[in-house]
């Protein structure tokens, strides 16, 4: 269980999260929505241990263990995965080499390039990515949809306990989104992963059938609910809340 209590986070001395509470159960799917600037991505960045986001108050814990003060790589190795809304391009970094390195590190193993290539091919097929992709450089020259698939690919390899998917549905066409959601569901079935989608689009709700929807505004969760809340957001927008 991920438990966040009274979380206050600031960036460059500006407070963005203003006492946020959130609880996510193991193996369940959630959706976080809210207007621009409400702090959704800040929450994701804070959970990833990004040092430019400073926690001034509150707590974050996973299975009773505090996650504050942990380095980004420690969080990742512990099973927390945050997908990037805008993943940076790393010129010259070969995808296969990179993916093998993060896979071996996370699972404390030592697959050689040939063994890993088999595993990778499986994931490529699942995500409907062309084979030539494995020789490209990380995110370099990728389309929006390709970047999102690359994030999901990394998630599939790392098999996290909890995945926070920040706007995984933006800049992605209908077919690609279907493939992505299918892959996330598969991972969840196999690994009992907790999933939190962060999105702008109510249409995502129908496809992922969340346990709960959270509505965020001005750095706090202001409402949570199910279909009724989804309908309300769809029909009235965020202004009412």
């Amino acid at each position: 269980m991920l438990k966040i209590q009274n979380l206050k986070t600031e960036k460059e001395n500006k407070q963005i999260l203003k006492g946020l509470d959130l609880t996510l159960e193991k193996g369940k799917t959630y959706v976080l929505m809210g207007p621009n600037g409400s702090g959704k991505s800040t929450l994701a960045k804070t959970l990833s241990g990004d040092p430019s986001y400073k926690v001034s108050e509150g707590s974050i814990s996973w299975e009773e263990e505090s996650l504050l003060e942990k380095k980004p790589e420690e969080l990742a190795l512990q099973g927390i995965f945050i997908s990037y809304q805008h993943p940076p391009e790393i010129p010259g970094l070969n995808i296969s080499q990179y993916l093998r390195q993060i896979y071996n590190k996370k699972h404390d193993t030592n697959l050689n390039p040939a063994e890993f290539a088999n595993l990778l091919e499986e994931k490529f097929t699942a995500l409907n990515l062309p084979k030539e992709f494995k020789n490209r450089y990380l995110n370099e020259g990728f389309s929006g949809g390709e970047k999102k698939k690359m994030e999901i690919l990394q998630m599939l390899l790392l098999k996290p306990k909890i995945a926070i998917l920040d706007e995984i549905d933006s800049g992605v066409d209908v077919d690609a989104l279907k493939v992505i959601i299918e892959a996330v569901k598969n991972l969840q079935n196999n690994e009992n992963t907790t999933i939190l989608y962060i999105t702008h689009y109510p249409s995502l709700l129908e496809q992922v059938e969340p346990e709960k929807i959270f509505l965020m505004k001005e750095g706090k969760i202001v409402k949570e609910g199910r279909e009724d809340l989804a309908r309300q957001i769809r029909e009235e927008g965020y202004a009412e809340f």
Partner: protein, 439 residues
């Protein structure tokens, strides 16, 4: 036979006599000496004021050359040897503890194979002894004493180096590695290399090695001349890791005839000051020249590197890709020149110089020069200087990599376009050393 410390006509005469050279070579040396004395230090580039030219031994005879003792070798050099897992025998050679490496047993068969193809690959002294007619035609025709003070110095006192001759239409399949060359000592201060690739031939020559090369005398002033005939292809790869006291001031030039291709690939670590600007004179229609370089500069180091591409004929093309990494308080400078002469119609030149600053105290500068005298020429120049970006580091760390692992991957990616041109084992070793150096 003593070591020569004073540099005058007498010294040069003795040196030439000792090497049993033809008279015309002695004349070339004496001429170069005159030029050396008259030529001032370069008016551009890093400061050379700490380079004491009075205190340099200009010639060491092989049998009396004073060996370094293991105790004299700096700790960082020893550490690099260990990192690369170099056997003791090679360590001794590289550190100058032994003057020569005995590799006859291992490389004898290669020598035999080359000989059958008509390839001459030997040390430069032997080359001159046995093939004076080739030397008279080519030696000193590209790099002249008047090029700069250090090419003049080399012209006067050169000693050691390689001679490679590839006959018409012969392809050398394996890279030829000067480092393993039989019976030749390649770490000379004033080495001289002469390469001739005849029509339609193809060869890849590799000099240096990733292991640190320790010179007690702090000046390395090498000269390289490469002649690429019509339709020939030469790739000249340099991998150097000079110890941090060395002034590495080299002059490298190539001439390329019609449809020929010359490629300089240069990977540079170490040295105190490096100045090198390999040149391609594109003389025949459709000739191609390129320079791909990667350099790392750390604390107290200054590297000024670049290329000179001279388009003299129509349809000639050139490409310069310079990748420099500056860490600690290192200073990395790019100096390059593209010259398109009148008549070099429809020529194309591309220059890309990128630098990556690994620390706040590192510096990089770029001094490109483009002289275009032909309206139909296309010249592109791109330059970038970037810092190690927090966002990229954070991204890689969020996937489980440590700060250092993330940094290494970003650095590796940055130099990949050049590193992929190196023989695989060198690329791997270079990466390994770089990781060490960046720690």
């Amino acid at each position: 036979m003593p070591n020569f410390k004073t540099l005058d006509k007498n010294t040069v005469r003795k040196l030439s006599k000792r090497k049993q050279e033809p008279l015309w070579m002695l004349d070339l040396r004496l001429e170069a000496l005159e030029v050396y004395k008259k030529t001032p230090l370069p008016s551009f580039g890093p400061s050379l004021k700490n380079l004491n030219l009075e205190d340099i031994t200009f010639y060491k005879s092989p049998e009396t050359a004073k060996k370094n003792s293991w105790e004299d070798i700096p700790a960082d050099v020893k550490a690099d040897f260990d990192k690369l897992g170099i056997p003791q025998a090679e360590k001794d050679f590289l550190a100058g503890v032994e003057a020569q490496m005995n590799s006859e047993a291992i490389y004898g068969s290669l020598k035999e194979k080359l000989k059958k193809q008509g390839i001459i690959f030997t040390n430069i002294e032997e080359g001159l002894q046995k093939h004076p007619e080739i030397f008279q035609k080519y030696f000193g025709k590209l790099v002249k004493p008047t090029d700069n003070k250090f090419s003049a110095l080399n012209g006067a006192v050169w000693s050691g180096g390689s001679f490679l001759y590839v006959p018409e239409n012969v392809t050398v399949t394996l890279p030829l590695q000067a480092y393993f060359k039989i019976g030749a000592l390649n770490l000379g201060q004033f080495e001289r290399t002469l390469i001739i690739a005849e029509k339609g031939s193809k060869v890849h020559y590799v000099e240096g090695c990733t292991a640190p090369s320790y010179l007690k005398n702090m000046l390395h002033a090498g000269v390289v001349e490469v002649f690429v005939a019509e339709d020939a292809q030469v790739k000249y790869t340099t991998i150097q890791n000079w110890s941090k006291n060395v002034y590495n001031l080299v002059t490298k030039k190539s001439s390329v005839e019609a449809r020929g291709k010359m490629s300089w690939v240069d990977a540079n670590l170490g040295s105190k000051v490096t100045m090198k600007y390999p040149a391609c004179y594109l003389r025949g229609s459709g000739a191609h020249g390129e320079m791909l370089s990667v350099a790392y500069t750390g604390s107290g180091q200054v590297i000024s590197a670049g290329a000179r591409m001279v388009h003299e004929a129509p349809m000639t093309t050139s490409k310069v890709v310079s990748k420099s990494l500056a860490g600690s308080k290192g200073v990395s400078n790019y100096r390059g020149e593209v010259l398109v002469k009148e008549g070099a119609k429809n020529s194309r030149a591309f220059v890309e110089c990128d630098s990556l600053l690994l620390t706040k105290t590192a510096k990089s500068n770029s001094y490109p020069k483009l002289v275009i005298k032909e309206a139909s020429a296309q010249v592109e120049h791109e330059a970038s200087a970037s810092k190690l970006e927090e966002e990229k580091l954070q991204y890689l760390r969020s996937r489980g990599l440590s700060f250092l692992e993330a940094k290494d991957l970003i650095v590796q990616g940055f130099i990949e376009p050049v590193l992929e041109q190196l023989p695989l084992e060198y690329a791997l070793e270079f990466n390994q050393l770089l990781q060490g150096d960046l720690l």
